[in-house]
């Protein structure tokens, strides 16, 4: 495990080394979360690289990644811990058979660590395991009661098991919580975290991301793709394309041996970018051609500026 970065610049370098292109605001917030040992609460549109941050931190800090995917009805036994009831029952029967009916001794015997099965949350703070990065993904998908389970963990990095006692992390885990805002997460959670809204990147950063995530693509094509997507995000659509979609699209175009954006290819592959039929119907055809013409102008201006520099 490597030590935590000591400055914002070091944090930015750590992210860049793992191929994550972050702006100064994001690196500052991440650095603060690491320095203050507070959970990081990332909200933003889907496909803007929120989950990726946890993966990158895990690789960069050389810590194990513990991931908890949230869903409606997620409860303690699936998220934190569960007693191994079958083995406990066997232990009780064995004690019975041996004629041992000392209640105190029996409960000491079956409520021990070996009967406790760790689920992601407990595993993340297990003092016997190496330090971790805990990713609580899409918290908005879980229901409100689950958020209450999280409060003790987020404030003190500990979990209290009534029958056993309190388990506390030896090294505070790096906690990353993501939300797509399909539901407002409660203020109690927000207050324990550092908040950052992850927006869509600007054109320059998106080109840099493509250069890392889709290497081997001609710079001219990725400049056009980025310009097109940036223009598309200004349109009135139900679901705007994220960075993940941009990466998929540039890869799709490259599989189809396209070296330059052409109206036909754009129409054929629009489904990679837009995921709702209404949006596709709105953009396909004349609208796509108009955006494409503007995007090509943007890309050309970028290329000229690069030549001049």
């Amino acid at each position: 495990m490597s030590s935590l970065p000591r400055s914002v610049a070091e944090t930015a370098r750590l992210l860049a080394d793992q191929g994550y292109i972050a702006d100064l605001e994001l690196s500052t917030t991440i650095h603060l979360a690491l320095a203050m040992r507070r959970p990081l609460f990332l909200e933003g549109e889907p496909g803007t690289g929120k989950t990726e941050i946890a993966k990158v931190l895990s690789a960069g800090l050389d810590r194990r990644l513990v991931r908890l995917q949230c869903y409606d009805g997620l409860d303690l036994s699936a998220a934190a811990y569960e007693w191994d009831h079958a083995r406990q029952l066997v232990a009780i029967r064995v004690a019975e058979a041996a004629g041992d009916t000392d209640r105190g001794a029996l409960s000491r015997d079956i409520y021990t660590r070996e009967f406790l099965q760790a689920r992601p949350l407990l595993s993340a703070i297990d003092p016997d395991l190496p330090p971790s990065v805990l990713l609580i993904d899409e918290l908005d998908r879980a229901d409100e009661p689950f958020e209450a389970f999280l409060l003790e963990l987020l404030a003190d990095f500990q979990i209290t098991v009534p029958e056993y006692g309190t388990i506390k992390a030896a090294t505070a885990p790096v906690v990353v919580i993501t939300s797509n805002r399909t539901r407002e997460v409660h203020d109690a959670i927000r207050r324990r975290c550092l908040y950052h809204w992850v927006g869509y990147p600007d054109a320059q950063r998106e080109r840099a991301i493509l250069a890392v995530k889709a290497p081997g693509i001609a710079a001219s094509l990725s400049a056009q793709v980025v310009a097109f997507v940036q223009r598309l995000r200004a349109e009135d659509l139900f679901k705007l394309p994220g960075v993940a979609e941009t990466i998929d699209w540039v890869n799709a175009l490259s599989y189809l041996d396209q070296h330059e954006l052409a109206p036909g290819a754009v129409d054929d592959t629009l489904g990679v970018l837009l995921k709702y039929q209404d949006d596709i119907a709105k953009i396909r055809g004349a609208e796509a051609a108009r955006i494409l013409a503007e995007a090509k102008g943007d890309a050309l201006a970028v290329a000229r500026a690069a030549d001049a520099a």
Binding site: D75, R183, R190
Partner: protein, 415 residues
Amino acid sequence: MIPPRPRVPVAEETAPDATGGRLATNVMRFARLLRRAGLPVGPAEVIAAQQALAAVDITSRTQMRTALRAVMIHRREHQDVFDQAFTLFWRDPNAGQHAAVMALFEGQKEKKPERAPPASRRVSEAMAAPRERKPRPEDEAPRVDTVMTVSERERLQTMDFEAMSAAEVGAAKEHIRRLRLPLDLRRTRRSRPDPAGPIVDLRATIRASLRRGGALLDIASRRKTTRPPPLVVLCDISGSMSRYAQILLHFLHAVTNDRDRVSVFLFGTRLTNITRQLRHRDPEVAFQMVAHIVPDWSGGTRIGEALAEFNRHWAKRVLAQGAVVLLITDGLDREGAKGLAENMDRLHRSCRRLIWLNPLLRWTGFEPKSQGIRAMLPHVDEFRPVHNLASLRELIESLSRPGPTRPAERERMAA
């Protein structure tokens, strides 16, 4: 906006001195400015801000702003107000005391409710109907949502709730306040202990058996819990609907305070989320806060536009987990039903049950002739009148029953 006055250079102001005392004071004053601008910033945020500033390079403005923002605000909606306040304050830390700067935040301050309604009205009501008032929760400072900044022009058009006196709504108000809205309960994936439940609770069983020295006598069991689905109300407040909207607001206030997961939106030409305002227990305070933030009382209607705005900005945030949508409108659209069918269709597909309440239905022999109504009708699960207490009560009964199967599902089942 800010009167000319000698400014302290940024670097000097933000550079830490030997004790850091000056910076600490400035952070505290900055927090006070944010509070005055309506952001919920407490002592915990101030302490965290001090720690955060120690961890970054405060000669970098971006780092400093991001650090303060990460710990002092918790919602995207507050980001713009924060950024404005940051720009002003850290250029000139005395700005917090400037009348000019305060004037800038006046828009937010204005919305802080006056606790007591106009005295004249209080007095006249007290004279007309001497009845006991519930003690009002004076200390509970209502949270003011600073998102919906009201522009000067629209504030002029803000409706006066004086018009809605006791005489007009009368006894109906009292009835409505006592109505409860028991929606059909949905089974959740959570369970609670129940001796007759179908799920075996091994954890409780083992704990109980230990109390008896390890003998397995009773099997503890659990049952899945139920809870009502989220409710989203979209209520038309245009001129043709204003009489009903006023009465229905009482109903919506009662519903919002009775259960969790309720979101209420008003629309005329624009869409306004009034959920936070309605949460105030005292209806009069709640309505005053609503009157302050809603720009378009009794104006025209652009139903298609309002629904489009809802679909775009709110549907994904409030329609998750099987929401029921109540759409209250007469369907008389100023824009000639532009974009109405598409947006109704989208709304219908995003929720579990869409119920349209239309006061025009009170006339027997009502025929859906208006373009707007014809565009909307194919996309609703239920179409009901809402014009008097009886129809409200019918609505409540209907909501308590499981919803009808959607045509698409019926076809699928038939196939």
